[in-house]
């Protein structure tokens, strides 16, 4: 009898947890290939809507800090356009999803370098970018790009997100 109670308790708990997790988990982001021209494509698609774009790498601990910060900012300033791009060519999808989950970043889509030679993308994105990470671009409504090399501080992010035009 005691065993049956344990049995059904475990079964019920498992089913409840499974259902909860299924309902609570956000859908996994669609991962797009980021190639030469993708930055312009993203800019065109936003069509005057300001956005923030961060390049990150699995091997860059600073990048992980920045992603965590973006995850927090996303909750404080919902609705703002955040784009993240994995700069490791052909990084495994599971790593990208796991990284987003770990840092609580809920985005419908994301990007990953899909050129075997990343410098082709570096030069296309910014003629002076040589692969340093993290690299963040703040693109305003007029399409002006402000580049920040290295991890972005919370203060800078708050200033950006609190702009009236955003």
């Amino acid at each position: 009898m005691k065993n049956r109670v344990i049995y059904f308790s475990l079964l019920a708990a498992s089913l409840w947890m499974a259902a909860t997790m299924t309902l609570a988990s956000p859908p996994q982001a669609t991962i797009h290939p980021f190639v030469k021209g993708s930055f312009t494509q993203i800019q065109d698609r936003n069509n005057g809507k300001p956005f923030l774009l961060t390049f990150w790498s699995e091997t860059c601990s600073y990048c992980m800090d920045e992603l965590a910060l973006l995850g927090r900012m996303q909750k404080i300033y919902p609705g703002h356009e955040i784009v993240i791009v994995a700069a490791d060519p052909f990084l495994d999808k599971s790593v990208i999803w796991q990284t987003m989950t770990t840092h609580d970043l809920q985005l419908p889509e994301t990007w990953v370098f899909s050129e075997h030679f990343p410098e082709i993308i570096y030069r296309d994105v910014d003629s002076r970018w040589r692969g340093e990470l993290p690299l963040t671009f703040f693109v305003d409504a007029k399409g002006n790009k402000h580049k920040h090399m290295g991890v972005v501080s919370e203060e800078i992010l708050r200033t950006w997100f609190e702009q009236p035009e955003l």
Binding site: Y7, L10, L11, T59, F90, D92, M149, G150
Partner: protein, 446 residues
């Protein structure tokens, strides 16, 4: 499917031992799976409990909780690193007494290995590759910019590289050491220079002469520094061909965590060039005996960068009346000064000339060498029309450099060049690829 097999296997054991029936184990497995716990671990914990009849049920939960934490940590660290290409993924080159040693790290279908080739005719012909990693139990974790390194001390050769460690940050483990006492024909595992074996260790720089072998490396033995993205630079040396090692000393506790270092013996003194932190400029120092002295900054760009540069430098020394001349190339990513620079010191590294940029602002990784005729050549990789390409330039007597010459073929992407004297010429080596899937060794006399 794998979990099911594990469960079935364990079920048989426990059905006999403890009267647990299949449905209960199924639900138990389902429960644990939902909560992210590896059933194998839980069953292991349960087995431990059943073996201990006096233990209360709570102890199982405690074990399970511990197992959960362990699993979460493991899962997190199971992040796959970006895929590595096949072919040559690590490269070091050493010239000693007119013999050239080429240490290559290879990757074939995910299996990495380390081999040595030698040349006695300035790089015109090469020996067959010899397995340097023979007998090693730890798998290598090789990459350009964190390459396996070679030191030569007469017939004693030592090779160092980072091991692969599942679950570790960047999958990097403790250093691996291989030793040869016959000029590189045969190799075997050797004693570790470090007094902190846990690792990870990486970004090795090493050099030797007839009397001594020195190794410099980065590790985080004291945990994370308050300044993010840093490691300490350590040193040990051997005077018996690598059989035993001195105590480890720390040269600088706060350096860039991901930039390669350079170490060269000259006039019985070890000279070390490494990337510092705050600012992320290159520092230079000397080690005489156990006395370390940081002499200064090579290229004061004031590059304050909270990120991962993955860029180091190279150095060479004058001879005869110019023996106190130190020549370096350093890279910087400073937004207003990015590129590869040449700097010279005429007083052993205390003061440095103004940085002279090699070509445009796209230079990334560089090296420098001087041959016995006094010729000085700088090599670097920089952006060309189809990606990175290798360039070389020679220093003229008036202190300026010749126009850069592209030494890699236009149909390949080429990076991470190294250069050594090769008779009257120089031998430049690098890694190159046509499709990014396979890296090959590139080589050119200059």
């Amino acid at each position: 499917m794998a979990q099911f097999k594990i469960s079935r296997k364990n079920m048989k054991i426990r059905t006999n031992a403890s009267n647990i029936s299949t449905p209960y184990l199924f639900v138990l497995t389902l429960f644990i799976s939902v909560f992210g716990l590896n059933p194998g671990q839980l069953l292991e914990a349960a087995e431990a409990q059943y073996k201990n009849e006096g233990a209360p049920a709570a102890s199982v939960q405690q074990d399970a909780s511990t197992a959960t934490m362990k699993t979460e940590k493991t899962d997190h660290s199971k992040h796959k690193m970006p895929p590595k290409p096949d072919g040559v993924i690590s490269l070091d080159i050493v010239e000693k007494k007119n013999k050239i040693y080429l240490l290559l790290g290879l990757n074939e279908n995910g299996k990495q290995s380390v081999v040595l080739k030698t040349s006695g005719d300035s790089g015109k012909t090469w020996s067959n590759p010899v397995a340097v990693d023979a007998g090693q139990t730890l798998k290598p974790s090789l990459a350009r910019s964190n390459d396996a390194r070679l030191a030569v001390s007469g017939d004693h050769l030592l090779a160092f590289w980072t091991s692969y460690k599942e679950g570790a940050s960047h999958s990097a483990g403790p250093m691996v050491i291989a030793r040869s006492i016959d000029g590189g024909q045969h190799w075997q595992p050797s004693s570790s220079p470090t007094d902190w074996n846990e690792g990870s260790h990486g970004f090795f720089a090493t050099d030797g002469d007839e009397k001594q072998l020195h190794l410099v490396w980065l590790d985080s033995r004291h945990g994370r520094s308050e300044i993010k993205g840093t490691q300490g630079i350590r040193h040990a040396h051997s005077v018996d061909g690598g059989l035993s090692w001195s105590d480890t000393i720390t040269l600088d506790e706060v350096t860039c965590a991901c930039c390669w270092t350079s170490a060269r013996l000259h006039q019985d003194t070890l000279h070390v060039l490494y990337r510092d932190k705050q600012p992320s400029d290159m520092s230079f120092g000397t080690l005489r005996g156990q006395n370390w002295q940081r002499l200064g900054t090579v290229g004061e760009f004031n590059w304050f960068f909270e990120g991962c540069p993955h860029i180091g430098g190279g150095m060479a020394f004058g001879q005869g009346e110019y023996r106190n001349h130190v020549h370096t190339v350093v890279g910087t990513g400073h937004p207003e000064h990015s590129g590869i620079y040449y700097l010279q010191s005429t007083d052993g590294g205390k003061q440095w000339s103004a940085p002279l940029r090699m070509s445009d602002d796209s230079g990334l990784h560089g090296d420098v060498a001087i041959n016995e005729y006094g010729r000085l050549v700088v090599v670097w990789d920089g952006f060309a029309e189809n990606g990175l390409a290798i360039f070389a330039a020679e220093k003229r007597e008036d202190g300026t450099f010749s126009d850069p010459v592209r030494v890699s073929s236009p149909d390949v992407r080429a990076a991470f060049p190294r250069v050594v004297p090769a008779g009257k010429e120089f031998l430049i080596v690098w890694t190159q690829s046509k499709d990014g899937k396979r890296e090959e060794l590139g080589m050119q006399h200059f």
